[in-house]
């Protein structure tokens, strides 16, 4: 299986490199803008008005982790990456059917379990997502260095990457708590598997498959949203205790993962055609 995973990952590697460079470029500009704007609007303008270094720090505080992600531009590449990953979930399958060549013939005729193709594609997506998250984490260290190069050291507070994460929307992709991080990516894996179900249904039953897949996703989404609405909106007091909610979430994840996996397996082994 690792040979095919390696092959699939190599096919998407350039995209990963491109995204990493793009993220760095845009975020670096965003960090430079935030830092220079702090330098000009907080430090220099107040120094001109006669405030002392001590007074500026006491009034406005130090340049902390929070400022690094302050500019909305910082999150633009994160959004672009999310969009590209969503697109890749479909692209990774459909490119093997489309065009002058039909690589799916070769993949399906490999003398190994058809599920190998499935695992290779699923793991490629998950490795890409995790790599991007890891790269994003590493970049935060670089941004701290960049800020330190621009600002005088007396104005710099703690620029700890974990603070940059916990004080911004970055916590969605880089949850500071290990358990939360794992949970987020397990839910993410389930989401990718569900998208695969939609693709495999379409490849097996064409338009009818797309309808069945759409209905399946609609039912699941309705159940989850319905539950949340019932729990938090219609009830003045939440119906379940927190521990009960965790158990419900784990059970729901397990059941959905199992159903989705068994369905995908059936479609891969018996239904998809080329």
């Amino acid at each position: 299986m690792f040979r095919l995973l390696n092959f699939e990952f190599n096919r998407i590697f350039k995209l990963l490199v491109g995204l990493s460079i793009g993220v760095f470029g845009i975020q670096l500009i965003s960090v430079i803008i935030s830092t220079i704007s702090y330098k000009e609007s907080v430090i220099e303008s107040n120094l001109r008005e006669g405030m002392t270094l001590q007074e500026i720090v006491e009034t406005y505080g130090l340049f902390e982790a929070y400022y690094i992600t302050l500019n909305n531009l910082f999150f633009l590449p994160v959004g672009i990456c999310a969009g590209v990953i969503l697109f890749s979930i479909f692209f990774i399958w459909y490119r093997d059917w489309a065009g002058k060549n039909t690589f799916m013939y070769r993949l399906m005729m490999l003398p190994q379990s058809r599920m190998t193709i499935y695992y290779a594609k699923l793991l490629t997506i998950m490795i890409t997502v995790l790599s991007l998250a890891f790269i994003q984490y590493l970049y935060l260290y670089i941004y701290a260095i960049v800020a330190k190069l621009i600002l005088p050291s007396q104005y710099i507070g703690s620029l700890n990457p974990s603070d940059m994460i916990s004080q911004s929307s970055l916590q969605v992709i880089l949850a500071p708590d290990t358990l939360l991080f794992i949970s987020a990516y397990l839910i993410g894996t389930l989401f990718v598997m569900m998208m695969f179900t939609l693709i495999l249904l379409e490849r097996s039953y064409k338009f009818v498959g797309l309808l069945i897949g759409g209905l399946y996703l609609f039912v699941i989404a309705s159940l989850i949203i319905g539950f949340i609405v019932h729990q938090y909106i219609f009830n003045p007091y939440p119906y379940f205790y927190k521990t009960e909610l965790v158990i419900i979430a784990i059970l729901a994840w397990l059941i959905l993962t199992l159903i989705t996996f068994i369905w995908n397996r059936h479609l891969m082994k018996r239904k998809i055609t080329v």
């Binding site: 002058k100 060549n101 005729m109 003398p111 190994q112 058809r114 239904k271």
Partner: protein, 228 residues
């Protein structure tokens, strides 16, 4: 021997294969002939387990299809099966990685036979050379059976000749071949067995030599009787 027994295949409400039975022996070249839409490709895909059938069974040397059979039977569809950005030598590496039956020596012989360059990217090949490369990827596997879907369609006369010639060499001889074609004139001399398809049924299966000796008819004569 590949045995196709009473297979039926429906696409929605349309039954493309109603009741198809025939067999193809090792060492013989069997040609599936029928008008467009008669289900020739569907049959090949069904044999390769690339498509499930609604009824009937297909046996290869007496066994049902398993994933390991891809080391025993190769299929060359009428489209390229590898990504276009790859070089021929990269495809060789890919095939070597995944198939135990990949035969490097045979691959090199075929490369010379078809006058192809190992360092060429697939996307730079002409249509004729693409067809040859596609065929090479199938023929270089040490398999007992080779299934070829329209190997002569849409390519120039000389490439067609070259591909036809490969059947008379030891690169193919001794193996069982099932092929579909429209260009029956060019390869009539190669074919051992014919399976004539019409309206979802096998209307005739015959040995070409025997037909010629016993009834004095060529493949086209029989086709004219049955299909026209």
């Amino acid at each position: 021997m590949i045995e196709v027994k009473h297979i039926q295949k429906k696409f929605g409400r349309k039954t493309v294969l109603k009741d198809i039975s025939f067999h193809a022996k090792e060492g013989h070249i069997t040609c599936l002939i029928g008008i467009n839409g008669s289900g020739k490709t569907t049959i090949l895909k069904s044999i390769m387990n690339l498509m499930s059938v609604n009824r009937g069974e297909i046996l290869i040397d007496g066994h049902q299809f398993t994933e390991a059979m891809y080391e025993k039977v190769a299929y060359v569809p009428d489209v390229l099966t590898m990504p276009l950005h790859m070089k021929i030598k990269d495809v060789f590496q890919f095939m070597r990685d995944f198939y135990k039956s990949w035969n490097d020596q045979r691959a090199d012989e075929l490369l010379t036979f078809f006058k192809l360059d190992k360092n060429e990217r697939l996307k730079n090949l002409s249509k004729g050379n693409l067809a040859k490369a596609n065929m090479l990827f199938g023929l270089a596997l040490d398999v007992d059976y080779i299934l070829l879907d329209e190997p002569f369609s849409g390519i120039d006369m000389f490439s067609r000749e070259q591909i036809a010639n490969v059947f008379t060499t030891d690169l193919v001889e001794g193996r069982g071949v099932i092929l579909t074609t429209h260009e029956i004139h060019d390869i009539e001399y190669l074919i051992d067995e014919v399976v004539l398809l019409n309206n979802g049924f096998v209307v005739n299966q015959f040995n070409v030599e025997q037909m010629r000796e016993e009834q004095g008819k060529s493949i086209v004569d029989v086709m004219r009787e049955v299909l026209v």
